[in-house]
Symmetry: C2
Amino acid sequence: MKIVVDAMGGDFAPEQIVKGTVDAVREYDVSVILCGDEEKVGALVRAEGGQGLPIEIVHAQEVIGMGEPPVTAVRRKKNSSIVVATRLVKEGKGDAVVSAGSTGAAMAAALFILGRIKGIDRPAIASIIPTVKGLTLLIDVGANATCTPENLYQFGMMGSIYAEKIMGIPTPRVGLLNIGEEEGKGNETVQEAYELLKNSALNFIGNVEGRDITAGKADVIVCEGFVGNVVLKFGEGLARDLLQMIKEEVKKDFLARLGAMLFFSRARGLRRRIDHREYGGAPLLGVDGVCIIAHGSSDRVAVKNAIRVAKECLENNVNGLIKETLMAVEQS
Amino acid sequence: MKIVVDAMGGDFAPEQIVKGTVDAVREYDVSVILCGDEEKVGALVRAEGGQGLPIEIVHAQEVIGMGEPPVTAVRRKKNSSIVVATRLVKEGKGDAVVSAGSTGAAMAAALFILGRIKGIDRPAIASIIPTVKGLTLLIDVGANATCTPENLYQFGMMGSIYAEKIMGIPTPRVGLLNIGEEEGKGNETVQEAYELLKNSALNFIGNVEGRDITAGKADVIVCEGFVGNVVLKFGEGLARDLLQMIKEEVKKDFLARLGAMLFFSRARGLRRRIDHREYGGAPLLGVDGVCIIAHGSSDRVAVKNAIRVAKECLENNVNGLIKETLMAVEQS
C-alpha cells in the first residue's frame, strides 16, 4: 500500500509534513511517496533518519497557495505538488492522496483527475467532531455550498459507510441537521431530504438540532456544505477564543492561573478528546480514489493520523462499498 | 413605561418569571403587567414582597406549550398568556412584550397581532454572542429558515440600529456570514446579499467566516435563520458538553478537581462574560412593537435582563429609527 503525500501543502509544510510522514511509515505498515521540492524534502527526510524507510520522493516544482482560486490554479499549475500527487494515484503509482494544503485545490484536483464515483452527483467532505459520547461525522463541511435533497441523501449513505468501516460504529444513526426536531421543519431542501432519508435503508433517526451535535445524538449528521462549514469553523473559533478568554483570566489572578495549570496538567483525557489532530483529516467522499484533506495547521501528529486514515480507507474498501451500495439501490 | 410580561412562558414559569419581574421593577424604573394565572401569579408576587410595586396582573387562562404548533396554537388559544400579553401592547395598554415561552408562539403572536413594520418583509430574531472583544449581534437566529438577499440586507440594517442604540457601538461593523472571506463565495443568496450590503449606507465589512464569530470581527453578523439557529444552538450545546466533559475529568482525578474549582471560583469575569443570562433575551426586530424573546431556560436574572432590554428598546426608539431608515432608503 502506497500513500501519496503532498509535502508542500499546509501552514507548516514541508517540515511537519515530512516529520509526520516518517512517523507514519515507522508506526503503520505503509510506503509513502512525498511530492514536492526534491532537495528540501530529501534533506528533511534524512534529518529525520528516514533514509532506509520505504519513502520515495517525486519532484514537484510548484505549490498552490491558500489564497489562489482553486480551479484555475489546478488547471494552470500542472507541476504543483497537489496535482502531481493526485495524478500519481490516477496512474496507479499510489493508492491514496493526503494533503494539508488548500482544501479547494485538493478538491479540484481530485474532481478533475480522479473523477467522481459513478452515481455520486457531488463528493462531500466529512469531518469528525468529538462529542460527550464519542465521535460524530459531520458531512458536508464545505465541498458544496448548495445541495439538492438527493445530494444530502447520498452524503448520509457515504457517511454511514465511513462511520461503520472507519469509526467502527455498527449501523450508524444518521441524523439530518435542522432547526427543529419535528418532521416538516426547516427549508424545502431539508424537508425533501428528510423524506428520502426516511425511505432509505439507512438507520435514519430524524432531525437533529445544533445543540445535539456534540451531545452525540447521531453518529452521522448530514447538512449542506454552507451550514457544515460555518458550524465546523465556529466550533474551531469558539475553542480558540474560549482558551484566549481563559488566558486573559489567568493573567489577572494568580490563583486562577494555578487552578488552570493544575486542571490542564491533569486532564489529559479531555485534551486528547478535543484535539483535532487525533482525528487525522477529513475524507473527500464520493471521488473515485481515496483523498484525505488534513487541516491547514496540521503538525506531525495530524499528518501521521491523516496517513493512518488513508490507510484505513483503503484497507476497509470504503469506496468499493459506496459503489456496491449505489448498485444495490439502483437495482432495487 | 409599561412592560407586559408573559408570566406563564418558560421552563421555570411562573416562579422565576415573577421573581425576575419583581427584581426588574425594583431595579429599573418600569411598571409591569404580568399575564397569567391570576391566583398563582398573585401569590408569587406577594411572596416576593411585591404588593406595593407597580405590578398589575391580567388574567390569562391558557398556556401555549413548547411542543405545540405555534401558528395553530396562537389562533386557537385566544386566552393564552402570550396572546393576551401581545394584545395588551396592540391596544396601547402596554409598551412592550417579554416572553420566555415558545419562540414560535411569541413570534406568531407578534406577527398576527402587532404586524410588521411597513417596508420590512420578514422580522428577524437577533441574538447577542459574547466574543473575545465584547459582544456581537447574530441576526437571524431562527425566525426565517430561508431568506432572500433583500431580507438579509434588512437584517443588517435593523441589526446595525440595534447594535448602535442598545449595545452602544458607534457605526457598527456589519459582516455577512459566509464560507470564505472573498467576494463571490457561498450560495446565490449570500452572493446577492453581498452586493446589496456593499452598496448600502451600512458599515459593511464583507464576508465573515464561522471562526470569526467569537473573534469579534464584526459587530453585527447577518445570516439566514437556518444557519443562525444551528450556530446558536451548536454554541449552546458545545458549552454545555464541554462543561460535561470537564465534570467527567474532575470525577476521575482529585488534583484536576482542585484545579477546576480553584479556576472557576476565581474566574468570575469569564463566567459573567459567557453567561447568556446577562444579555437578557433576543429582540424580534421588524415587528411593529417591541417584542423580546427570552431563553426558554430563563431564571430570575435572565428575566430581569430581558425586561431591561425591552425598556432600552423603548427609550432608544429602536423601531422608530428602523422606520426612519426605511423611509430614507425609499426616498433616496
